[in-house]
Symmetry: C2
Subunit: 237 residues, 2 copies
Amino acid sequence: MQIEVFPTLGGVPDEAINDKVVIVVDVLRTGTTLAVALACGCLDIIPVLSPEEAIEMKGRLGDERVLLGGERNGLKIPGFDLGNSPLEYQRTGMEHKRLIFTSTNGTRALRRASGAKKVVVAALVNAPAVAQAVAAMEGDVSIICAGEREHLSIEDFWAAGFLVRELLKYNDFSLRDGALVARDYQAYRTDPQEVVLEGFQARQLMEQGFGEDIKFCIQIGIIGLVPLYSGGVIRKL
Amino acid sequence: MQIEVFPTLGGVPDEAINDKVVIVVDVLRTGTTLAVALACGCLDIIPVLSPEEAIEMKGRLGDERVLLGGERNGLKIPGFDLGNSPLEYQRTGMEHKRLIFTSTNGTRALRRASGAKKVVVAALVNAPAVAQAVAAMEGDVSIICAGEREHLSIEDFWAAGFLVRELLKYNDFSLRDGALVARDYQAYRTDPQEVVLEGFQARQLMEQGFGEDIKFCIQIGIIGLVPLYSGGVIRKL
């Protein structure tokens, strides 16, 4: 069994999706937000590519439990119930709610991964749980970093390295070059806070006043839950 | 001025090419081979995407000085004069020759980069010279790793980190996330031979009997020459 890490979504080949277990990593903030929503009682999450698609789907579902969540350029979308701040989801009653969600990078990566044997969503808050679950799925693993548009995101790549190291605790995976680099980079830069704050997305979130979100997102392993994306819907594994 | 590193060719956005100084990195082996060819007296090199395009272009040029070089899956292409072994180019008389060249990853990356303000080709053998020349070009720098199909190549990413560190000796560039990661990875893994031999491409080349090529390709700075790709042709800067 093999692990490969794709530092950006662009150019991920079909062979890395088909018959593979795919981990989509999005630390700031979609992966964190979705884990929090499920941990706070949200029944299911439908990731969509655009605000228009979200609104259209809400109309089609005609379900009063549905909330619209997500961001564009880090900010809540006009007319939506929630943005992409995990703290906001913690404060909001998510019990028995259903969520339709769109974000700039995370939901695009999820959609790209559909067609894989299994797709799970990871952030630092649930990385240990994700690694444990994925190791039990017994198959080649593709870790896809959501990134920031076509750019590598330092926090996603660091988290990918963390996942590689965790996965190696359970199985004797072979590592392709992307996984080798991510593992070593993560081993070298041991302080996630220091690393994450160097990155483009963290600097942007700080400017937008989301500093508390960043602090929340770097708490490794505080959520023991694995979001599984299957049939177009994300639910607790 | 800014530096960004793209770990793979897939998904490199137009904004990272247009008006940028682009360094295409291909350590094993295209970047090395092209530097050697020029250092051995080759007049110019035309990179093309396919063997068919190479043969067609040779016919069109009708120039007896033209040699066909390149590889598919690491091996010399049937009917071609040369493969993609830098040692082969060193042995062959390249004085006053012209080269039409195609390789699986390197020439694809070069073609992608056309349209940039400047495009140079880098390998470890000429990385210090490339960094010095690029720093003098005064502009944002995109370092594009040729990689191995859609996968990151450990040796290209390491070389990208080396180039970032070299560039910072000359100018006070700001670093996007890809450049931050490459710089730190390279600083952590100090021995290029150890790193390169872990990678997929080196293992494949070893199996194909190209171990001597790898030893040649990791000699940092033995060639003080910068291949510039302009108007579809590569010449010495």
